[in-house]
């Protein structure tokens, strides 16, 4: 059945008309009161230094004084870039997210020097259709550097990964790169909630694609893959730095939104003997970082849209990104790079497209926020 869809934009225009009609009814006195209150609020937030009232405040990277020295001495520094959560619809339906994915590819291709590889962080597609994944493969095919693919739930639950495997191979794998052991996990398995409900593949996909949805089960790495990981790590000495890629955060952030991996404790237990471990995840579409024991976690930006921060469970070390401009498709989204240091820890650059980039040093996390604190954006968050 065709549904006449009224977009946010249409609703906005209707609301705006209503407000404008209301404004005309406002008498002069109340109108000036509204203006006065707004100006007071702006002034109180320190947004108006004497001769400037630029309304953007940017988080700045802490200057890095010793990285170059360390790089020169060490044997391991390398960089990799990432693009994540592009959520592509078929080209004939929506070109907004296509445009953002193309922009990310152009962005990464403009890096000089080029990164060693590009991690794709999952959710290439929006509704798991083959045509969406093929479009994504075509766009990512323009990247100059080699691409390492990771799967997200939006890529998977229409055909349970059939098209994705055809196009990109197995969803979990490991490799060694310049002395670092890299593992990509498939962290978005779910227990069967669809058979009993007699759901079609479309309905199953649609359910998983919802953010706040009690019907689906929680993400998990699963017992088979845990066994595979244990076996894979068995050959890796504890002194080797680990880089783990997972689509969902391998810790417990907010269960209702599946910002969560149910069996993450078991994964963390396997990673615990390693001295330097960095876990990089997609899915949450926001600046997000966390430190649990020896493990540093970073969330990647999406190219499609920013999620608001969840109402509880936000890791305390996270410096929140500013509220995004709702009219600006490229605000609050972007791509990024990781600079793997000689010691195997990774510094993270959040390349927010319409803001200045923010660097989060590995030492900020490993020192539990005592060193190299990224400066806080002045604006209130979501």
């Amino acid at each position: 059945m065709a549904i006449r869809h009224k977009s946010v934009e249409t609703k906005y225009m209707e609301e705006r008309d209503a407000v404008l009609k209301g404004l005309r009814r406002l008498d002069r006195r109340s109108f000036l009161k509204v203006l006065g209150a707004t100006m007071g609020a702006v002034a109180a937030k320190g947004l108006m230094p004497p001769h400037s009232f630029q309304l953007i405040t940017l988080a700045n990277a802490a200057p890095d004084k010793d990285f170059e020295t360390k790089s020169a001495e060490g044997k391991r520094p390398f960089t990799f870039a990432y693009i994540s959560d592009t959520h592509l619809y078929e080209r004939t339906l929506n070109q907004r997210f296509v445009r953002a994915a193309v922009k990310a590819v152009e962005d990464v291709n403009a890096l000089d020097p080029q990164p060693d590889f590009v991690l794709f962080g999952g959710d290439l597609a929006q509704l798991g259709r083959r045509a969406e994944l093929e479009l994504g493969k075509q766009i990512l095919g323009e990247l100059k550097a080699p691409v390492k693919m990771m799967v997200g739930e939006h890529d998977w639950f229409f055909d349970m990964g059939e098209a994705w495997r055809d196009l990109f191979g197995p969803p979990n794998y490991s490799f060694n790169w310049k002395g670092v052991h890299v593992v990509t996990l498939m962290s978005v398995h779910e227990k069967d909630f669809w058979t009993a409900r007699k759901m079609t593949p479309e309905q199953r996909m649609q359910t998983v694609a919802g953010l706040d949805n009690g019907i689906q089960s929680r993400f998990e790495v699963g017992e088979d893959q845990l066994a595979w990981l244990e076996d894979d790590l068995d050959k890796v000495p504890h002194s080797t730095p680990l880089l783990i890629f997972s689509h969902s955060p391998l810790y417990k952030y907010y269960r209702n939104w599946n910002f969560w991996t149910e069996d993450c404790d078991q994964v963390q237990d396997l990673l615990r003997p390693y001295y330097r471990t960095t876990v990089i995840h997609g899915h949450t579409h926001q600046m997000l970082f966390n430190q649990i024991r020896n493990i540093s976690f970073y969330g990647m930006l999406s190219t499609a849209w920013p999620w608001p921060y969840a109402p509880q469970g936000l890791p305390p070390l996270t410096v929140q990104m500013n509220r995004a401009d709702p009219f600006d498709q490229f605000d609050g989204v972007g791509d990024g790079q990781f600079e793997v240091r000689p010691d195997g820890l990774a510094d993270k650059i959040y390349n927010l497209w319409d803001r200045n980039p923010v660097t989060v040093k590995a030492t900020y996390l490993t020192s539990r926020g005592q060193l190299d604190k990224p400066s806080k954006p002045e604006f209130a968050s979501y």
């Binding site: 404008l20 070109q95 000089d112 509704l127 479309e202 490229f330």
Partner: protein, 424 residues
């Protein structure tokens, strides 16, 4: 500080006439608090003598290397304090790369120049004074010597500042004069203050489109901190994308700036080279600023034509055609630039609304220009691309095509929303 009894200096330069007189402060919509808050702390006092001195300096041709140009060459009060040229001409008939912004209401810009390379008007004056193809003065010492050679300035500077002329105080005096050019009191301001009949029904429709479908307000929003309709931010709207390879140009710029990077070098790159098109990037060196220029205010647009940083658009219909088709695609295009699906009638309405932002001083000139632009809009529309604007085809040969949500009438409104397929 001058005392009221001090005899006023008699200046020899042209005073610019009536159109250059300071504007009154009792205008509808004049943001008095904001005006005071944005004054620089070291130039707060603005007695009439300082303003008169600044006005004389503003029109004085001796402040150029060939004694033929002054500030008013490019900021002509008869032309809304612009030159109405695509890009400006300085000494020896040399053209720069940027369109001269008006000084009217420039006090409210959080940063000056198209790329924000000066913090305030005092600092802005440094640019054209010493740029070799603008006023072309050699250095501050030369300026000071020229001023000291003029007896009327000797007297006036001593009266206003308590010491003989120097460059820094000259800039303060000129900036103080420029701050007298504040133009509000437009039909729109009266409308907002409650006079429902101050603007026409067409202009009301335009104001609604401005805030709604046209999305103008996402950068040109009007509110107490943005009385001139500018968010004071920098955006790449794809004006010059078709003539620049931004990535290559940016790399070249970084190499050049690495060897210098002082304000004078940035000024010369901006005015005299192709790197001008990099805009804000030359100042910040942040990739997201590539091809970005400051959002201009929208008051008195019908005396400041042509439009955009390179003066590339002759009429407001052309500028709206540019936005309507979603700008020109480039990797740094601002995320807010999307096809708008505006019809001809809607474009006409928005332009009519923009005319309601005209202050009394410029009303006659604006009426003439509006009539001329209306006529031109019927025949000459180089930027018009209806299919792109309506979302019927992709923009600018990007190979992308398809409708954009429900923005344009080209969208099949009955098409099933894919996000709802199979949902509960």
């Amino acid at each position: 500080m001058a005392t009221p009894e001090a005899a006023p200096a008699v200046f020899t330069s042209n005073d610019g006439g009536k159109m250059a007189d300071p504007e009154p402060g009792d205008q509808a919509g004049f943001p008095h608090d904001l005006y005071r808050w944005v004054l620089p702390l070291d130039n707060l006092e603005r007695p009439p003598e300082k303003i008169a001195l600044g006005r004389a300096l503003f029109f004085d041709r001796r402040l150029s290397a060939d004694d033929k140009e002054s500030c008013s060459t490019c900021h002509d009060p008869e032309k809304g304090f612009t030159d109405q040229l695509p890009t400006s001409m300085g000494i020896h008939n040399q053209f720069g790369k940027r369109n001269a912004p008006t000084i009217v209401n420039a006090n409210f810009n959080s940063l000056q120049f198209w790329d924000g390379r000066a913090a305030n008007l005092e600092e802005q004056i440094h640019g054209p004074t010493f740029n070799p193809i603008e006023l072309g003065m050699a250095d501050e010492k030369t300026v000071t010597e020229k001023l000291q050679a003029a007896p009327e300035y000797q007297r006036a500077f001593i009266s206003v500042f308590g010491h003989p002329p120097n460059y820094t105080d000259m800039a303060k005096a000129i900036a103080s004069y420029e701050r007298t050019q504040v133009a509000f009191d437009s039909p729109f301001d009266k409308f907002i203050n409650g006079a429902d009949g101050a603007i026409t029904d067409q202009q009301k429709r335009g104001w609604s489109l401005f805030n709604g479908k046209g999305r103008c307000m996402s950068c040109h929003g009007w509110n107490p901190t943005q009385p001139t309709f500018s968010d004071n931010r920098f955006h790449n709207i794809g004006v010059s994308a078709h003539k620049s390879d931004f990535v290559e140009l940016a790399r070249k710029a970084l190499r050049v700036i690495a060897e210098g990077g002082d304000p004078q070098q940035i000024d010369q790159l901006a005015i005299q080279t192709d790197m001008s098109e990099l805009g804000r990037f030359l100042v910040t060196k942040q990739p997201h600023d590539i091809g970005s220029f400051r959002t201009m205010g929208l008051r008195n647009l019908f005396v400041t034509e042509p439009y955009f940083h390179d003066g590339s658009q002759a009429t407001l219909w052309d500028t709206i055609d540019h936005y309507n088709k979603g700008g020109v695609q480039n990797p740094y295009l601002d995320g807010g630039i999307v096809p708008l699906g505006l019809s001809e009638q809607e474009i006409d309405d928005i332009v009519a609304f923009l005319k309601s932002l005209t202050s009394p001083r410029y009303a006659d000139a604006a009426e003439r220009e509006y009539t001329a632009q209306v006529a031109r809009s019927k025949t000459d529309r180089p930027q018009r691309d209806v299919d792109a604007a309506m979302g019927i085809k992709g923009r600018n040969d990007t190979g992308l095509s398809g409708p954009f949500g429900d923005i344009g009438p080209g969208q099949d409104q009955m098409k099933e929303n894919p996000a709802l397929i199979g949902g509960d």
